[in-house]
C-alpha cells in the first residue's frame, strides 16, 4: 500500500453561465485591478488515496471525480498529482497570502 495525494480541479464547462465568475469580474473595478478577464470559478478537491500502485490510485480518483465531484452535464474536471512537497508549498503560499491579506 502506498499513499498518493491528488487534487481534482472541477471547472464549469465552456458555455455554461458562471455568475460567480462574473461577480468577481464585476468587483475588480472596486479593487482598482485591471486587465483581468475570463474568470471561471470551480472547485478544488485535495485527497489522499492508499492503493497498491499508482494505476489503482488513479482509477479510484477518476471514479470519484466523474461520479461524485463533478456533474458531466455542466462541469469538466482534471486530476493532478500533488506530492507532499507540493502540498507544503500550498500552505506556505498560504502564509504569504495571509500576510498580504
Amino acid at each position: 500500500m502506498t499513499s498518493f495525494r491528488y487534487a481534482v480541479n472541477v471547472t464549469p464547462k465552456p458555455g455554461i453561465l458562471d455568475p460567480q465568475g462574473r461577480a468577481v469580474e464585476g468587483s475588480l473595478a472596486h479593487l482598482g485591478i485591471e486587465g483581468v478577464s475570463a474568470v471561471r470559478i470551480g472547485r478544488r478537491v485535495e485527497l489522499t488515496v492508499d492503493a497498491s500502485d499508482e494505476t489503482a490510485a488513479i482509477g479510484i480518483v477518476e471514479r470519484l471525480a466523474s461520479e461524485l465531484l463533478s456533474n458531466p452535464l455542466i462541469e469538466a474536471y482534471a486530476v493532478e498529482a500533488i506530492g507532499a512537497t507540493s502540498s507544503t508549498t500550498t500552505s506556505s503560499a498560504a502564509t504569504d497570502g495571509a500576510g498580504e491579506g
Binding site: 500552505s91 498560504a94 502564509t95 495571509a98
Partner: protein, 774 residues
C-alpha cells in the same frame, strides 16, 4: 506592549487572569498554585462570558418567577408551559465579537450555539430571530459585515431547517467597529420531556457525542503550547470556529431521540469553555464531580495538547450523563445518526473535575499508570467563580430622565421649520432603519416547518402550534438611541415595545429573554449604563408582570472608535389561545374606522426623525409610563379577544405617520384621517412617545372599542376612515397651524401621499442604502 514585554509577562496575565484572580484561584485550591492545565481551565471559566463576574450581582435583581415557568435563568434556556402538556423554550444569545472577525462563520456558529441551548432542554427548535446592529450602511466594511452575517445566519438556519421568522436590523454609527449579532431561538416541547443540564448520579457515564474535537477557538490560550510543540504555525490553532449545520441537524435529531426515549439523565451543549465548561457546570448543578479520561475524547487531528482538548470550542458537540445500563442504546442512536460518540468519564461523588491521562478501567477507575493532570472543585470553576463589584458612575454632564408622566417642556426650536411632512414621511420610510428588510430576510428560509403564519417583515412573528388552536407570537426589540441619553429608559422602552408587539396580535406575553450588549464594565460609565439597563429591564418586567427566564450578557463592546450605545435586546414570546382571533397590523377593509389609542407626549430626542433631521440639544426623549403601558396592552388583548379589532399597529420608529403608512401599505388600503395635534407637527406626526396604537375596526364596533379603552383609562379618538389609495392626514388643534404660526413655521399641516410613493420608498430603501441595488 512589545512582544518581548508580553513574553516576560507571567503566564496567568497572558491568559487574561489578573493577579487578584490568581490569588482567588489559589484559595479555591486550598492554597496551592494551579498547574498550567488548571490555569487554562480557570482562565476560560472565569472569563466574563462564562462567569458573568461583572453582571451576576445585577442579574440577581431581575424578576424570574412567573405563571407557568418550568425553567428559568441558570438553565440553557427558559421554559414556560403553554397548556395541553406543551411548553415553549426560548433564549437569546450574542455572537458579536466572532462576527466582527469573520462575519459568516461568526453568525453561523451563533445560530448553532443558541439552537443547542434549545434542544438541550428537550425542545425541538421551531424558530430563529436575528437581532443585528451595524455601523454606517454606506461604509464598505459595514457592507462586508452585513453581507457575511446575513449569509451566515441563513447558511446555518436554512440548512438545519429552522425557519428564521423575525429579528432586527439597525444601523447606528456607534456599531461601526463593533457590530452586534444577537440570535434568539424558540423551541416547542412536551413538558414531560424537560431535560436539565445535570450530571446525574455518581457512577453515571459522561458521554460526549457530535463532532470530534479539534483546535477551534483556542485563541488566546495558545500561549500554553509547550515548547516541544513542533508546528508553531499560528494557522494550526485557528481562532475562527467553522460551523457545520449538517452536523448540527444530526445532533438535533439524535438528541431529541435520546430524550424522547429517556436514555439520558442530563444533557449539556458545549459552547464557550468547551468540555471544561460542560463538565463543571453539569457537575456543579448536580453537586457531583467528574473523572474525565482525556484519551477517550475523539479528536479531529493528532497532536492536540491536554489544554487544547479541555478548552477547545469545536462546534456541534453535546455532553450527556448516562446510566451505564443505557449506554448500548445511546451508542446505537448516535451511530445511526452518524455521530461519533464516546464515554469520556464518570460522574463522581467528590465534587472535583479531575482529568486523567492513561485511561479508565471498566469501573471507571484510573488504570494503573494513569496520570492525573488536573483536579479542581467543579464549583470553583462555576458557581463559586470570582465576582467583581464594579464601580458605576453616571457621565458628568447628563440630563435626568423625565419622571414618568411628567410632561417635558416642548422645545420651541424643533427642527421642523420648512420641512414638508409628506417629504419627511417618505424620507423616514426609505431610511436604512425603517425601510423594508425584505432584501435581507428573503435570504432566509422563513417557512420550513410549515408553521409560519406570519414571518418576517410585518411586526411580530406568528407560529401555529400543530394539533392545537394555539399560536406562539414572538418579537425582539432593542433601543439604543434613547438608551444613550438614559439607559434606564432605553431598557424599559425595549421591554415595552417587544411586549406591545406581541400583545397587539391578541397574544399574551409569557416571558422575557434578553441580551445585554454593553461596553467595558471596568469603565465606571459603561458599568453605570449596564446597571441602569438592568434596572430598567427589571422595572418594566415587574410593571408588566413578566418573568425574565434567561438571556445573555455581552460586555466589552468597544472599538478604537469608542463604545457602542447601550443596547439591551429584548426577546418576548407570547401565547395566542385561539389563532382564529389573530389580528395583524394591516388595514383589512374600506370604511373601517381608524382609531388612535393613547396620546403623544413631547420630546423628539432619540427618535428616527431626530437622527435624520436633528433634534434640539436640550430636547428630551418622551417619557414612559409603565402603568399606562400595562393598561394599553391589557386593553388591546381584551379588544382582540372580543373580536372588536380589524387591525392593530403600535406607534414606534418614525412615529404616528410611519405607523399609519404601514397599516395602509400592508393592507393596500389608503385612509383619510384628522389628527388632533397637541404639540407640533414634528412631535405629533413623527415623535415616538410610547404606549400608543393605531387600531382599525368595523364601524359597528367603534363605540364598544372606545368604551373599552376608556375603561382602561386610555385616551381614545376616532380619527378617520380606511379607503382609497392615498394616505391623507390633517392636523387639527393647538399643535397644528396655530402652533406653526407662532413659530412662523412654513410647515404644511396636510400630509397627502399616494400608496405607490410610500411603497416605492419603503421597498427600495434598504437595498439602496447597502448598495445592493442602484
Amino acid at each position: 506592549m512589545t512582544v518581548a514585554e508580553r513574553a516576560a509577562e507571567p503566564l496567568h496575565r497572558r491568559l487574561g487572569v489578573t493577579d487578584e484572580e490568581l490569588a482567588a484561584i489559589r484559595d479555591r485550591l486550598g492554597g496551592r498554585a494551579p498547574n498550567d492545565l488548571e490555569l487554562a481551565m480557570f482562565s476560560v471559566m472565569w472569563s466574563e462570558h462564562c462567569s458573568y463576574k461583572s453582571s451576576k450581582p445585577l442579574l440577581r435583581t431581575l424578576p424570574t418567577a412567573g405563571e407557568g415557568v418550568v425553567a428559568g435563568p441558570g438553565e440553557n434556556a427558559g421554559v414556560i408551559s403553554i397548556g395541553d402538556g406543551l411548553a415553549v423554550a426560548f433564549k437569546i444569545e450574542s455572537h458579536n465579537h466572532p462576527s466582527a472577525v469573520e462575519p459568516y462563520q461568526g453568525a453561523a456558529t451563533g445560530v448553532g450555539g443558541i439552537l443547542r441551548d434549545i434542544f438541550t432542554m428537550g425542545a425541538r427548535p421551531i424558530a430563529v430571530l436575528d437581532a443585528l446592529r451595524f455601523g454606517d450602511p454606506a461604509d464598505a466594511r459595514t457592507r462586508h459585515l452585513v453581507d457575511g452575517v446575513v449569509r451566515g445566519v441563513g447558511g446555518y438556519g436554512n440548512c438545519v431547517g429552522v425557519p428564521t421568522v423575525g429579528g432586527e436590523l439597525v444601523f447606528d454609527p456607534s456599531y461601526q467597529g463593533n457590530p452586534l449579532v444577537n440570535v434568539m431561538a424558540i423551541g416547542l416541547m412536551e413538558e414531560r420531556r424537560l431535560t436539565l443540564a445535570t450530571a446525574g448520579r455518581p457512577g453515571d457515564l459522561v458521554v460526549l457525542y457530535g463532532s470530534a474535537t479539534g483546535r477551534d477557538g483556542i485563541g488566546g490560550a495558545s500561549v500554553l503550547a509547550s515548547a516541544t510543540f513542533t508546528h508553531d504555525d499560528p494557522s494550526k490553532r485557528p481562532s475562527v470556529q467553522v460551523g457545520d449545520p449538517f452536523a448540527e441537524k444530526l445532533l438535533i435529531e439524535a438528541s431529541l431521540e435520546l430524550i424522547e426515549r429517556g436514555l439520558v439523565v442530563g444533557l449539556q451543549d458545549l459552547g464557550a469553555g468547551g468540555i471544561t465548561c460542560a463538565t463543571s457546570e453539569t457537575a456543579d448543578r448536580a453537586g457531583t464531580g467528574m473523572l474525565i479520561d482525556l484519551d477517550a475524547i475523539p479528536r479531529r487531528e493528532p497532536g492536540l495538547e491536554p489544554f487544547e482538548v479541555m478548552i477547545s470550542e469545536s462546534q456541534e458537540r453535546m455532553c450527556a450523563a448516562v446510566d451505564p445500563g443505557q449506554w448500548p442504546a445511546v451508542k446505537e442512536v448516535c451511530e445511526r445518526w452518524g455521530l461519533p460518540v464516546a464515554i469520556i468519564g464518570r460522574v463522581t461523588a467528590d465534587g472535583d473535575i479531575a482529568i486523567v491521562e492513561g485511561g479508565l478501567d471498566a469501573d471507571g477507575q484510573p488504570r494503573p499508570g494513569a496520570r492525573e493532570l488536573a483536579r479542581v472543585p467543579a464549583r470553583a470553576l462555576t458557581s463559586d467563580a470570582i465576582v467583581h463589584d464594579r464601580v458605576a458612575s453616571p457621565p458628568t454632564h447628563r440630563r435626568g430622565a423625565p419622571a414618568p408622566g411628567a410632561p417635558a417642556p416642548v422645545s420651541d426650536q424643533l427642527p421642523e421649520r420648512g420641512i414638508d411632512p409628506g417629504a419627511v414621511l417618505l424620507g423616514l420610510l426609505g431610511s436604512a432603519n425603517l425601510a423594508s428588510r425584505h432584501a435581507v430576510f428573503q435570504q432566509y428560509d422563513s417557512t420550513v416547518g410549515a408553521d409560519t403564519v406570519a414571518g418576517p417583515g410585518r411586526g411580530a412573528a406568528v407560529l401555529r402550534v400543530k394539533g392545537t388552536t394555539k399560536a406562539l407570537v414572538a418579537s425582539t426589540d432593542g433601543d439604543h438611541a434613547v438608551g444613550l441619553l438614559d439607559p434606564w429608559l432605553g431598557a424599559a422602552l425595549s421591554v415595552a415595545e417587544a411586549t406591545r408587539n406581541v400583545s397587539i396580535t391578541g397574544a399574551r406575553p409569557l416571558g422575557v429573554t434578553n441580551c445585554l450588549n454593553y461596553g467595558d464594565p471596568t469603565r465606571p460609565e459603561a458599568f453605570w449604563q449596564l446597571s441602569e439597563g438592568v434596572r430598567g429591564l427589571a422595572d418594566a418586567c415587574r410593571a408588566l408582570g413578566l418573568p425574565v427566564t434567561g438571556g445573555n450578557v455581552s460586555l466589552y463592546n468597544e472599538s478604537p472608535a469608542g463604545a457602542i450605545a447601550p443596547t439591551p435586546v429584548i426577546g418576548v414570546v407570547g401565547l395566542l389561545e385561539d389563532i382564529a382571533t389573530l389580528v395583524g397590523p394591516a388595514f383589512v377593509a374600506s370604511d373601517d374606522q381608524v382609531v388612535l389609542v393613547g396620546d403623544a407626549q413631547p420630546g423628539l430626542a432619540g427618535s428616527v426623525y431626530a437622527a435624520l433631521a436633528g433634534a434640539a440639544p436640550e430636547d428630551d426623549p418622551p417619557p414612559l409610563d409603565l402603568t399606562r403601558e400595562a393598561a394599553l396592552q391589557t386593553f388591546i388583548r381584551e379588544a382582540v379577544a372580543r373580536g372588536l379589532v380589524a387591525s392593530a399597529q403600535d406607534i414606534s420608529g418614525g412615529g404616528l405617520a410611519v405607523a399609519l403608512a404601514e397599516c395602509a401599505m400592508w393592507g393596500d388600503l389608503g385612509m383619510r384621517v384628522r389628527v388632533p395635534a397637541a404639540h407640533s407637527p414634528a412631535v405629533d406626526l413623527f415623535g415616538e412617545s410610547p404606549s400608543r396604537l393605531v387600531v382599525s375596526c368595523a364601524p359597528r364596533h367603534a363605540a364598544a372599542l372606545a368604551l373599552l379603552a376608556r375603561q382602561h383609562g386610555l385616551p381614545v379618538e376616532a380619527i378617520g376612515t380606511v379607503g382609497g389609495d392615498r394616505l391623507v392626514v390633517e392636523l387639527t388643534g393647538a399643535g397644528a397651524i396655530g402652533a406653526g404660526d407662532e413659530r412662523s413655521s412654513r410647515v404644511a399641516d396636510a400630509l397627502d401621499v399616494s400608496l405607490r410613493d410610500l411603497r416605492h420608498a419603503w421597498d427600495h430603501g434598504l437595498a439602496r442604502a447597502l448598495g445592493w441595488e442602484g
